[in-house]
Amino acid sequence: MPTLNIELLESKLKENFNENILSSDKDADMFTIVVTKESYHDVVRFLKEDANFNFHYLTTLCGLHYPDSPFPFGLMVQLHNMPENSRIRVKTFTGDNEPTFKTLTDLWPAANWMEREAYDFFGFKFTGHPDLRRILNMDSLEGWPMRKEYPLEDPFRKDKDDKMFGR
């Protein structure tokens, strides 16, 4: 079972980042913190490099979109400390329409394609990313498919109508 010392982590985060830690959640399936966009890279670097916590493994990174929220675009990063077997989830949100985050590729080369995926599907820019272009979708695609307003079906199809089932 996870042995993360949450009290120590919370106090250390408070000490180093103060009001940049917007909230933390102990009851979720893993310890979750929400941080400001400005401090996001520093918090992740701190979690990776601090000897007490040593979250050395980047498990996954993905974009989030909550169109009804004042801060609609978010980024979720999950880190893992293998020797202690503890995991943490870091989230950050922004109200910009063209969200820009600092890249994590300077910390992990694995972040390269994960961030390209977030760019490809959500249109997030990552400053400092070595090769930010579409990865799974075709280069000529317009729009950002995983944003909620993007229609699932081709809106130009004429062979289906929405009288009965809706679109």
Partner: protein, 408 residues
């Protein structure tokens, strides 16, 4: 071409550098085992750089999943790593069960372990025998594939399908193992070790095979961790990380097995780790069967969750309540708690994770798949740099890159 024009196609950029040969490996090439392209810059037969292009069979699973009720997402997971789809199915069911807090009877957990370990064996059979084929040893492939075929026959007895299994349900399995299935599993346990031993005799200490694979496409443990490797590829580099042990699911903590690790992280180590894992899987299946037999509960194959588990057809046709549940489940009208959950299982080629955000609606609000081979395939250019073209082919097949999972 004017200077200002942005050149995005790597083939065009490289053509200006006359010293190198540009080789397109793929998009369809018999040795890539899937549709992905590599533009290789070659000097003679040495690879100077490789530029992978992926996404040829991208089917937008994450977007599709936002439109589908939880039930219908199982079929999406089938099509990710199609060499071991039962593991994906189980992983997805367990994610939803974790979110909804569903209790699963012990017997079902052991039956799931049997299915998942069979799937792991079939996945490793494909990968390892294909390493043999790519290094020129066709025989092992032809002989061991009858066992992969036999595992598919077991799937057929369990769920009726072979490749895209859609096996199990949220809350359990759709039916109990039948007599024929048990018979086949016992036959498999009895006869497969001889087949696997035969395959090992062909390759493991074969001088030609060893010369071809040792020091071919190596990666250090440090780089493998930096590239977020997981599964057999990470273990071949010497890191003993296995989700089954670190975050046990489906009662894996009750089983006794070892995690094989390698030292060099090269093709031979990856081959050997997978080979050893097949033996461990066999022992896990045997232990699971013993545990199932030792249980007092001889019949249960699903938990008591009417809001997720489809009622049997006879009841649907004959009772009102079952019909209502059936309708509600199929239409996705059952209640699911709000929240977010991450669940990972040890898939055929690494940590297969599901990050599920639910807003209480009929479909996931957001579903993100952590696909292991999407993450580790980006290390491929680094691994093949400076090696021969034929080693690049072997490195790719030993990394077990599955196009369906890569492109989601």
């Amino acid at each position: 071409m004017t200077k200002n024009q942005q050149v995005t196609n790597p083939t065009n950029t490289a053509l200006q550098e006359k010293d190198y040969t540009i080789l397109n490996l793929g998009p369809t090439h018999p040795a890539t085992h899937g549709i992905f392209q590599n533009v290789m810059k070659m000097e003679g037969e040495l690879i100077v750089s490789a530029e992978p292009t992926i996404g040829y069979i991208h089917r937008s699973f994450e977007k599709l999943a936002e439109r589908r009720p939880f039930y219908q997402i199982t079929t999406i997971t089938d099509r990710m790593n199609y060499c071991s789809s039962p593991i994906n199915n189980m992983g997805w069911h367990m994610t939803v069960e974790k979110l909804a807090g569903i209790e699963i009877p012990k017997r079902v957990q052991y039956l799931r372990v049997i299915i998942m370990e069979l799937a792991r064996i079939s996945d490793h059979i494909i990968c390892n025998s294909v390493i043999g084929v790519d290094s020129g040893a066709m025989t092992g492939f032809l002989y061991i594939f009858q066992w992969r075929e036999f595992i598919y026959e077991i799937y057929e007895e369990l769920c009726g399908a072979r490749l895209t299994t859609n096996i199990g349900r949220i809350g359990g399995l759709e039916r109990d193992f039948n007599e024929k299935a048990w018979e086949k599993i016992h036959y498999f346990l009895k006869e497969f070790p001889a087949g696997l031993k035969e395959f090992e005799n062909l390759l493991v200490r074969n001088r030609i095979f060893m010369d071809r694979t040792i020091k071919c496409g190596p990666i250090s443990a440090e780089r493998a961790l930096a590239y977020s490797f997981s599964g057999p590829n990470l273990r071949a580099a010497g890191v003993d990380y296995d989700v089954r042990v670190m975050n046990p699911y489906s009662s894996y903590e009750e089983f006794n097995f070892t995690i094989p690790i390698g030292t060099n992280g090269d093709t031979y180590d990856r081959f050997m780790v997978r080979q050893r894992e097949m033996w461990e899987s066999l022992s896990i299946i045997q232990q699971a069967i013993d545990k199932v037999n030792a249980l007092e509960d001889k019949t249960s194959f699903h938990g008591n969750v009417p809001e997720f588990f489809l009622p049997p057809k006879e009841e649907v046709y004959n009772s009102m309540e079952a019909l209502i549940w059936h309708f509600k489940i199929v239409m996705g009208e059952t209640t699911i708690p709000k929240g977010e959950v991450y669940h990972c299982v040890e898939g055929g080629n690494g940590e297969l994770g599901f990050y599920l955000v639910s807003d209480g609606g009929r479909t996931p609000y957001r579903l993100h798949f952590r696909r292991p081979c999407y993450i580790y395939y980006q290390a491929y250019p680094e691994m093949v740099k400076g090696s021969m073209l034929s080693d690049a082919i072997l490195t790719m097949s030993s990394m077990n890159v599955i196009a369906g999972e890569l492109d989601s």
